[in-house]
Amino acid sequence: MEIQENKSTLVVEARNDEKIKKIWKTAGILLAITVVEFIMAFTMGRGILLYGAFMALTVWKAKYIMMEFMHLGDEVKPLFYSIIVPLIFLVWLIIVLVKEGSEIFLMRW
């Protein structure tokens, strides 16, 4: 067997500036959403409106990370849905346990 040289037969492709620009744009959006959340934490009164806005912005950020950074949107539909559909059950779990928690609150206080 020949000694493997540290040389590659792979062809290095040139940078695709458009793709790289899109990555930085996504990064900018993520940072902007975080800044908005930050400002809201100090300017808005605490309550269901603020918490709802936080959750919506968080899910929005999660969507960007999964679609743009993890490229889930580029996978075929069966793979995409086998990841996303199970998460729907989590939404139900959140609703149920928030209800459970507030019932415990009523019992305790």
Binding site: R46, I65, I94, L97, G101
Partner: protein, 258 residues
Amino acid sequence: MSAHSTAIGISSKRGVWGGGNEPLKASYGKLMMWFFLLSDIFTFAAFLITYISIRVSYPAYAGPADTFVGSNEYWPVPEMVFEALPFMHGVHAPLIFVGIMTFILIASSVTMVLAVEAGHRNDRNDVVKWMLWTLVGGVTFLSCQAWEWNHFIHGTDGGSVLTYVNSLGKVVQETVFGANLHVNEYGPAGFAQLFFFITGFHGFHVTVGVFLLFLCFYQAAVGVYDRRGHYEMVEKIGLYWHFVDLVWVFVFTLFYLI
């Protein structure tokens, strides 16, 4: 493989059930990474949903935020708990430090996706460069978290006067400094317990991620992936690293904002 004309690629030689098909058109490693991450989402979701449900079972602090004092009677206001900065003792800087940590982690996620993009182009120099930046981001984040924990455990100068059941089973009233799993100066015992378990579990994932990043950086630098003929490992480790960032986005909202 033959050209795919249907949604499920059918190998012309073997048919649908004969093997050799790639219905999800992703490699074994990438597929398994996705399903591992799905199971990890469930674990983190269990932690975070537990946090929410325990939180709503306690009264919220009702008064204005700037008159907040720690008590185990109500859930604390996060911006009054996480308000310290390293090297700036006594400065009231609500959420500034954790904001910086979030920026670091998102930035390292960006450099990771740039490394993945460079991997698609087989560009070894770019992969090595961006992997190194990601590694720096990961280590910085972990160091910040270490400081954050240290501060959380040791507490403020004043502490809080709490009435609680101590480890000997006696009801005592005394000044409590910092936090442990039994009692803490910020809020109910569950507050510190959940803080330790959730940010700790996340920090553990970051630590594993940093090891993986280093491995990937090293292998890329010495040309393992060039010899292998593809940079898919960068993509797989990238998925894991983005997931760590994804979880932090939720931890940040639930723990520090709400």
